[in-house]
Structures are given as structure tokens and as C-alpha cells.
Subunit: 358 residues, 2 copies
Amino acid sequence: MHAVIMAGGRGTRFWPRSREKKPKHLLDITGDKTLIQQTFDRVKPIVGPKNVLIVTGKKHARELARQLPEVPAENIIIEPQGKNTAACIGLAALHIIKKYGDGVMVLLPADHAIGNPEEYQKVLSAAIQATQQPEALITIGIKPDSPQTGFGYIEKGEALPAVSGREIFRVLSIREKPDTALAQSFVQSGNFYWNSGMFVWKASVILDQIEKFLPELHKGLTEIENSFGSTREARTVAAVYKNLPSVSIDYGVMEKAQNVFVLPADFGWSDVGSWDAVCDLALKDDKGNASTTDSQVIFEDTSNSFVYSPHKLTALVGVKDLIVVDTKDALLICKKGRSQDIRNVVEKLERKKMKKYL
Amino acid sequence: MHAVIMAGGRGTRFWPRSREKKPKHLLDITGDKTLIQQTFDRVKPIVGPKNVLIVTGKKHARELARQLPEVPAENIIIEPQGKNTAACIGLAALHIIKKYGDGVMVLLPADHAIGNPEEYQKVLSAAIQATQQPEALITIGIKPDSPQTGFGYIEKGEALPAVSGREIFRVLSIREKPDTALAQSFVQSGNFYWNSGMFVWKASVILDQIEKFLPELHKGLTEIENSFGSTREARTVAAVYKNLPSVSIDYGVMEKAQNVFVLPADFGWSDVGSWDAVCDLALKDDKGNASTTDSQVIFEDTSNSFVYSPHKLTALVGVKDLIVVDTKDALLICKKGRSQDIRNVVEKLERKKMKKYL
């Protein structure tokens, strides 16, 4: 039994805190620990610290090892470049098969937040048990509380016998991010869940599915597998990765595969997709203001505002609905609800080649 | 002929830039030079650099001397404590009489901005000429463009023969800051000017007026005058100042005196009374945004906002009507139109004894 934490994201939306060298999952954006530390802490009791694998890029491997000293060095799998989730998952599956012949793998994004870790652990344990069904691909579906257009959706079908006392359904369809009207109809029907990006399956099962639906990717993975343990392993991985198709596991496999199941979950999940999401998660005072605990902030006739400013005294006067993020070399002031547009700032910095701020 | 620059202000409204050690007039809040440097540069051509006196507090004398190297050290007059403008002006008058027997003195607040310095110099020259009338107290009245309630007003009466081709009127009344309705009636009448706090008169004339209307202050000033040049001068000034009445020259003398005249002026005057006033003076782009020239600021879908942030890259996203002031240890974000309330922040800092930010 293994947990595979996928730590490939860049997270430009958390600028100026997130930078090329410090993507979102390496930041303590929701609390004292970084998002990947929180992910590790949550899954550790289920699989044990030695069975946590992490797939990441070369740039972030050292910081990641520093943040997660309990993870054995050989468990940190380096991708020479990001090729979306299908390649990442395939590579992790190869490592598990090489070491143990086969095994259940729990796939987890590195940068999500969970309000109720106990419930999360129960759901994952049930999902692991559900992989005993032949060829099963288990998804974790989040009960939606609003018609979000930023997530994919999972449509449930026939109910199966409960697993560890929990509902489980056959999946009718996996849907890409919908428009607002479609999202509303999904939520109203009661048959759809948000696709959390968390999956549970056997390594051998997902490799078979990749072979079936993504033969080009599978061919590359086989080349890599054949180089394992040889002197040409690193060179082979680098050469093969360059030409791998970049495709998500959802689009490349899940939308087409049989034997996909969904475990509905309600454990306070957030993908922490933006500063607005961080604001939603933050503890607020009676005027809706929030600030990171260590900083000194004066809210003067101010409401519904969020301040991250650990290095200096910060005063807000007569404002509302602001997100303020102050770092050592850059300051962001953003209207709440507009944090998606921080990408435009990062793009401007890229165009102007202001690398020190990226 | 002397110019006396009154540099006693504290300027809490410019927090976090203004601090106890750096009041407004010592800051380059409107451009490359500090406000007092600009005041000095404007008046220097009229009276000559050696005839500029500056009255200030002990805390600021060294920085002031550094900013104004052309001013002789003995021209910097230290008040042991602030006692409003009547005492300040009286003390300066004593120094002029001691050194030169008598002389015209041009009284100038240290912290105002002037859009048209040439016009300003012409007005002051005419005002100096007008002091040849016996016992004349000359005020500079600013033509009002709106019913401001933050200024005092000067009511004109009978017109006198022009001085250097400029209108001059006898003053009917000097008014304290009015309420909105009164201010509106003042401006509509066409008979009122804003009281700029700039005055021109002979040293002997104002001392006579102080003797008449503020006898207690005059008694103290006489004690100080008698100590001039003796070993007990500093001690006497300190002891006398402690008990001097704290009163403005407007309230203490001008409202009651005869022979008060007003020269109407229109030279782009601003008292730079708040961050909002600084915003009004700043050069703006086509969306009404302004920033200090040297700093890197990205305005993303942002309008009518002002940024002072010399030390770091600053990005504003989806906001409007904001004033952002970032200093090394404190950050202010204030809604435009609310900059008067920055005082409340400073008061909070005082109550919490957070001295390092004061």
C-alpha cells in the first residue's frame, strides 16, 4: 500500500508568495505547515511514512526533502519535466512495481486542504478496500455545495454494496469543467460530485489502462522500466520524457475506462485554488477580517479583508474586500473575487523578463 | 527683509511616512525635494539664503540643517516645545530685532506646496511692499475653488490702491474653520479667501500687536529678549516656554487687530494636508493612477489609485480609489477620501505604546 503525492504544480496564482522556486505546495499558505507537509501528515497514518512516494520536479526536490525528513530519499521521484498527471502516475506505478511487484496506490495532489482529516482517512481506507474488486479504478467524489465551474465532475450510476459501511457507486461519466448552466444542472440532479483528483487503484491496473488508452505513453514508460537500475536510467528517463504526451489521467484514461467507481466524500475539501480560497478557509473576526497570526495588523473601519504581512505592521483604513499579500520584495493588493487575475500580473512580469519576481 | 519658515508640525496624517523624527515638512512627499527644501527654494530669490530663519523643535534641527545647508546655523531657532504660531512668530520677531533693529518678516509654513512659484514670488514681493503702510498686517488669501471646511477664511472689505499692480483689500474679518453651509456661503459671496497661514509684516509691528492682544505672551517674550546673549539664554527660553500660552496668531491677534490687509493669490496653493491632497497633486495616468516615479508598480484593471512603494515591486489587481504607502517597517492601505482617519491608526499605536512605529 502506497501513497503517491503529486507535487508538480507551479501555482502562479499565489504570487507574490508562490515563485518558480516555491510553488504553492511548498508554502504554509493555510497554516503553520506547508500544504505538502499537511498532505503527508494526513496520509502517513494510513500507509506509513516509508510508503509515501512523491513525484516532483528537479527544482523543488531539495526543499521538499527538507520539509519532509521522514520520507526516504529514494521515495522522491524526479520527473525531468512536467507532463501532466498520466505520465506522473505511470512513472510512480513503475516504481511501485519494481520494488514490490505490485501494490495499491493512493494518488493525492500535494496542495489541497482538508478540514476533517479523520473522515478523510476513513474514506481513503474504504477506497483502498474497494480496490479488491477486479480492475477497479476508485475516485473520490466531493459532495458539491455550489455549482463550481473550476472543477471536473463525476457522475454516479448504480449503487454497489457498501464498503466499510460507505456508499460506493459505479461511475457513469467523468466530465471536464462545465459552464455555469451545466454545473447548476449537475448540482441540482444530486448525481454529480466534484472530481477531487484523488484516485486509488493497483499499480498494475492503471498501467494496463494506460496501455489500452494511451499506448504512446505506455511505450515510453516501458522504455523507462527497462532502464531501471542500469547506468543509463537517468538519461533514458530524460530522453523519453521529452517526447511523452502531456495528458491528464482524467482525460486520457478515466473518461474512457470501465470499472470506474466513486466514493462520495464530505471532509471539508478545498483545492486551495486561489487567494480567494485561502480567504474562505481563514479564521475571521466579526467583521470578516483575517490575518496571519504572527503579523501585526490594524483594521480601521475595514471589513471582509485578508492580510498576509509577516514582516511589517500593516494598517487598513476604510477599505473592504481586499486581499493584501506582502513579501520581502513584492506587494500585492487584490480585490476579493479577482484573485484569478493575478495570473495577468505574472504574465506581465514574464513579458518584461523581471525574473527576480517570478 | 527676512523669511521665517515655521517648521513645528508633527504631521501624523502622513503616517507611515511621517514619524515623530520625520514630520511632513522633512519628507519628499510631493516630489524629489522635501517640502521645506521646496519652501526654501521658493523664498530664497526674494530675501536671499542668509535671511531665511527657521523655527523648529530640537528633535528636527539636525535633519533640517542637513536638508538646508545654505541656511546659517544661527538662523535655525529652536523652540523648546511647540506653543502654536503666536509664540513661534514672536520668538522669530525678537531674533530679527536683536540682529537688525527691525525688519520685514515673511511668515511661511514649512509644509505647503505651490504650483506656480513665479506667481508666488510676485505676490510675496507685493506683500512686502504693502508693509510700508503704517502698522500693516498683510495676509495672503487664496482664491477658493471649493467650500473647504478644513481652512480658515479671510473676508475682504474696502479695496485699496493696487500694490505692484495687484489688488489689495482691507480685511473685514478672519474666520475659523467653518461648517459646510457657512463655507458654501463664503465661497458663493466672492468676498472670502482661504487663510493660507502666510503673513507679512514688520517685526516691531507684530510684537506691538502681541503686546496689545496677548500681554502674557509678550511678557514671556520680553523675558527671553532680556536674556539674549547671556549665559542664561537657553535656560530662560526653556523656563519661559513651559508657561507660554499656546495660541495661534490667527485667533490671538489677527481676528482682533486693525490694519489687516489681504492680497488675493492664485498660485496653485495646497496645504498638503493629507494623503488625499498628495493624490490630488500627483501626476496621473489615463486611469487616474499615480505612483512615485522610481518604484515599479503594476496596475491591473485598477483606477484612481496612488502608490508610494520605493522598496519593492507592487501590484494592484481589480481595485480602485486606494492609497498605498509602503515603508520599511509599516504598510498603509487607505480608501481615498478617508486619509483623515489615519490619525486613528496613530492613536491606536500610541495607546498600545508601539513607539517604534510612531
